[in-house]
Amino acid sequence: MKKIINDPANVVPEMVKGMVRSYPQFITKIEDAEAVMRADKESMTGKVGIVSGGGSGHEPTHAGFVGKGMLSAAVCGEVFTSPTPDQIYAAIKAVDQGQGVFLVIKNYSGDVMNFDMAKDMADMDNIKVKSIVVDDDIAVENSTFTQGRRGVAGTLFMHKILGAMAQNGASLDEIDAAAKKVLPNIKTIAVALSAATNPETGKPGFVLKDDEIEYGVGIHSEPGYRREKIKPAKDLVSELVGKLNDEMHLDHNKKYAVLVNGMGATPLMEQYIFSNDLLDKLAEFDVKPAFMKVGNYMTSLDMAGISLTFFEIADEKWLGYLNQPVETIAW
């Protein structure tokens, strides 16, 4: 493992410090917590707070999306490890304006439990808290008897929609209702060329051969659904779009937002080549994205690969929310 770090045990606090010190115009550290909140406190006055977070290693997520028009605060757990309830609670408390706080949680048992415990703590303090658990990764079979699906890159669309609504003055209940409506419209699927190496363990999450790829891996190197030989970008696009279409049934009468997300070590050149093939493939369905982003948004440290998110814009207002300007490091 070759990384630009000091002590593997300190990567998160050092990263958080580096981030707030590099971008004091956007974010500021919450005292005694590995969490950041908006520097522009005025932009939160009288608004519902939107708080997200999770394990670190997905930068710019989540802290890069804290700022006017998007998240109020982000909690930074250890690498690939849910933050603890006290940290989450500190963030809730820091941003609450009496209008309540809405939590955007990715569906991992750790995150769900820790955020739940933080919610209990907020309840005791009479802070109104509601939440949504994002589970956009279609690589995993779904069932009510299991943990269900993982929350991955599509979570950013949730952040953006709810952040815009909160900025425009929506109530906690309105945000809660919108989150429930948005949720089933976000679907993501990934392909990996190599796994991330967690600085603490010093080992990659899995090892692929020099000519192998794996479909459906998670953002913490959770295994996917199939391993095979590397194929041309066009074929990767076909596989991923096929999977998404099975779930969403692409329809040229509907509008879609698209996120082509680099996992960390994949050059933008490859992401754009993938996007070019993607737009060709979508044209076969007579679909042209109404909103599109390409880049490293929800990464997995130094994993190589791409995830593809489709978000069906079931409500015309959502497109406005996606396009609404924000003041963040990374959107």
């Binding site: 757990g77 490890t81 849910s82 940290q87 750790g110 820790n114």
Partner: protein, 194 residues
């Protein structure tokens, strides 16, 4: 025989030592079916616990509470809230009971409630739900611990990160079950509690 501040702390320090010793093994188990950090998570938490307990609390309840709060605030992930809840429930129960079997039963109820897992879901609940009755029946042995842990190997995970693997989670011991095994081993080795 009975739980005291001293033997409780001995138990926990012994657990802590086992975690430290098997940190890499626990993480390797987690690499196979999870995200490879279980040993590191538990080690971070138990180091903090041992550090905390170096100033001896006055009552059993205080010991449990300190362990709970320390685990909750340092571990994170899935194991933090689960172990944290277990010790929190033991702290609550210890106000009215000092029977280790009853305390651990309260802990198990807390774990199930917090995580929603049932026996057979390939989580630490499997080990706890087999061994707690044995403890209540004063029948805990090293063999029973080992076999409870080993039994998680053939299960298909339904909760936690391993559940994403579906059928492919078979054939690997559940890391949280293994660390729970160490907790019960440490208990068995601590004189005077059982």
């Amino acid at each position: 025989m009975g739980l005291t501040v001293n033997n409780l702390i001995d138990w926990i320090n012994n657990f802590s030592a086992k975690i430290e010793q098997n940190k890499q093994y626990l993480s390797d188990l987690d690499t196979a079916i999870g995200d490879g950090d279980h040993g590191f998570n538990m080690s971070r938490g138990m180091k903090a616990v041992s550090q905390k307990l170096s100033t001896k609390p006055e009552t059993i309840t205080d010991v449990f509470k300190q362990i709970a709060m320390t685990l909750i605030s340092t571990v994170g992930g899935a194991s933090g809230p689960l172990y944290g809840t277990a010790f929190l429930e033991m702290a609550k129960k210890s106000a009215t009971s000092d029977d280790i079997g009853e305390l651990l039963e309260a802990a198990l109820t807390g774990i199930k409630k917090r995580g929603g897992a049932e026996p057979g879901d390939k989580t630490m609940v499997d080990v706890w739900s087999v061994l707690v009755p044995e403890i209540k029946a004063h029948n805990l042995t090293r063999e029973k611990i080992d076999s409870a842990v080993a039994a998680t190997k053939d299960l298909v995970a339904k909760k936690g990160r391993a559940s994403y693997l579906g059928e492919r989670s078979k054939g690997h011991i559940d890391p949280g079950s293994q660390s729970s095994g160490y907790l019960f081993e440490a208990l068995l080795e601590t004189e005077g509690i059982l």
